[in-house]
């Protein structure tokens, strides 16, 4: 997992590229399959629970998958809902697993507004205070994140994992 942090930093600084991250993530997953039962046995807790997905009508998943991998690498339990995820699905899953973080991905200017709708739906469902909403994707900016009242924006997968860790620290303190 510490390895994924190095990979994340290298990716951020254009020292390695998406294929390199994928290879590293596969190595991590192979290791995790062996380690997971032992970690559970010895009572090691996950860093937190994350629900992630690409918003409705958006089928881009490469970036979202990388974010999910980096979060897993940082010790989070990740529930990946896939692409083209309807608003209700995010709310339902976040409630069901008692999520700490909801991660929303959008790559299209036509789908990015769905993020605001999801945040409103989380509010309506009465769980907005319990979850931190983190948004990202090529057309998303810090300003846009603020506009739709998301809690956090991250521009790439490495930053997403750092932000998630900060969120968790804040909750803990």
């Amino acid at each position: 997992m510490a390895g994924m942090k190095v990979i994340g930093e290298k990716f951020k600084n254009d020292k390695i590229f998406v294929p390199g991250v994928l290879v590293a993530a596969r190595a991590m997953n192979t290791g995790m399959e062996i380690l997971k039962p032992k970690l559970i046995e010895s009572g090691v807790q996950s860093a937190g629970k994350v629900v992630i997905g690409a918003v409705e009508s958006d089928l881009h998943d490469v970036g979202k998958n990388l974010v999910a991998m980096m979060l897993e690498g940082a010790g989070f339990e990740v529930y990946d809902l896939g692409t083209d995820v309807p608003t209700e699905e995010f709310v339902k899953k976040a409630k069901e697993i008692d999520a700490d973080i909801v991660g929303l991905s959008a790559l299209l200017t036509t789908t990015m507004n769905e993020m605001g709708t999801i945040i409103e739906a989380l509010e309506k469902a009465g769980i907005r205070d319990k979850v931190s909403v983190m948004v990202g994707g090529a057309p998303i900016t810090e300003d846009f994140a603020q506009e739709i009242s998301a809690d956090f924006y991250a521009k790439d997968a490495a930053e997403a994992s750092n932000v998630a860790k900060d969120i968790k620290k804040k909750i803990a303190s």
């Binding site: 254009d14 390695i16 590229f17 998406v18 294929p19 390199g20 994928l22 290879v23 596969r26 009508s57 089928l59 490469v62 998958n65 083209d84 299209l108 200017t109 036509t110 090529a138 057309p139």
Partner: protein, 373 residues
């Protein structure tokens, strides 16, 4: 006063001659048209007239996946192809005596031909079946259809046929997807290479056909960029193929311009050394990361650059901001040789018409060639 038609203007640039004005040729397709209420533009030709741009109509007469080429794919011998629609899903299958490979697509209101939810190739068995498909695949020219469309376009611009993608891009974009391509290259390097080589042979057959169309240019929709690929992968799996295809085009006196709409700054050395005649849909930040004027310094004067306007910006900016954006770009591109002003990939759904008019206005005011602003 303009004294060239759109066709003449584009043809001049493609042939290294001077146009009267800088061509303005946004990539407009049905993604944008479907968001336009106006009844005035049922076709891309109508749109070019209404929005006053020099039309380069892409994918003429068609775009046959997974090759991404403007010709017809024909299965021979005991290989069959079928496409079945079930509600919003489309299942495309190649059925062979060795087994079946199937792709699943999902359609939406805006994207009628659908997007891949499951690729044809998911494991090594599927790869072997696809290899058999390739061995029994032939191509049929659509030259007459191309000529018909080109005639229809007339002086409004030019028709451009699509040339096939490099083998690795066919894997990434249509056949296997990014993650599995990366993993299968590691797990089954020899068999993957065999299929890459076979696709390359098939591509050469495609080029033979497409380079016979009466067009000054062909564009493969490479989409190569470090958005998804690494410079290493580009060097290992794209560069030599692209050079070989560029040579085939050169031999037929046709310009070979690669469509590369993502991040290119980390590939600039390889692109400068490449034999392609130019880059299409060069996209500045934030979707891309290369301004045409920076690229010009690295690529030299000879390569044609098509692009310069980031699609998301074109959609989001105000009319005045669009004008400033384009002015700034034109200033920095002076005198403007070998440059076609365009979008860094498709004009987005919902782009305000007035923003497109704003670009046309600036081009008309300041785009007289050679640019001297």
């Amino acid at each position: 006063m303009k004294n060239m038609t759109s066709r003449e203007r584009l043809t001049a640039v493609l042939n290294g001659e001077k146009p009267d004005y800088l061509p303005w040729s946004p990539l407009v397709d049905y993604y944008f048209l479907s968001s336009w209420d106006s009844k005035k533009a049922a076709s891309i030709i109508d749109a070019s007239q209404e929005l006053e741009f020099d039309l380069m109509e892409r994918h003429v007469p068609t775009y046959s996946e997974p090759f991404g080429a403007s010709l017809e794919l024909v299965c021979t011998n005991d290989v069959k192809y079928e496409s079945v629609r079930e509600e919003d899903k489309i299942f495309n299958r190649y059925i062979t005596p060795k087994g079946t490979v199937e792709e699943k697509r999902v359609t939406t209101e805006k994207i009628k031909y659908g997007f891949i939810k499951k690729h044809y190739i998911e494991d090594i068995e599927d790869l072997r079946i696809y290899k058999y498909v390739l061995e029994n695949l032939e191509f049929k020219s659509m030259k007459e259809e191309f000529k018909k469309k080109d005639k229809e376009i007339g002086e409004a611009g030019i028709a451009v046929p699509s040339a096939p993608l490099t083998p690795i891009q066919q894997f990434l974009q249509f056949l296997i997807g990014l993650e599995k391509t990366v993993y299968m290259l590691m797990d089954h390097p020899e068999e993957m290479q065999e299929v890459l080589d076979l696709i390359h042979e098939k591509n050469k057959e495609c080029y033979e056909i497409i380079l016979d169309y009466p067009s000054d240019v062909v564009i493969p929709y490479e989409d190569t960029s470090t958005t998804v690929l690494s410079p290493n992968m580009y060097e290992n799996y794209c560069m030599d193929y692209i050079d070989e295809y560029a040579e085939l085009a050169l031999a037929k006196d046709t310009k070979y311009i690669t469509h590369m709409c993502g991040k290119l700054s980390k590939l600039i050395d390889q692109l400068a050394a490449g034999k392609m005649d130019g880059i299409d849909s060069m996209c500045p930040p934030t979707s891309g990361d290369l301004w045409p004027y920076d690229a010009r310094e690295e690529l030299g004067d000879k390569k044609i650059i098509i692009g310069g306007i980031e699609p998301a910006s074109l959609q989001k900016l105000s009319v005045d901001e669009v004008k400033d954006y384009v002015m700034d770009l034109l200033k920095k591109m002076q005198p403007g040789y070998n440059f076609i002003l365009s979008t860094g990939d498709a004009t987005p759904h919902g782009t305000p018409i007035k923003n497109l008019w704003a670009v046309a206005e600036i081009r008309d005011k300041y785009g007289k060639f050679p640019l001297n602003i």
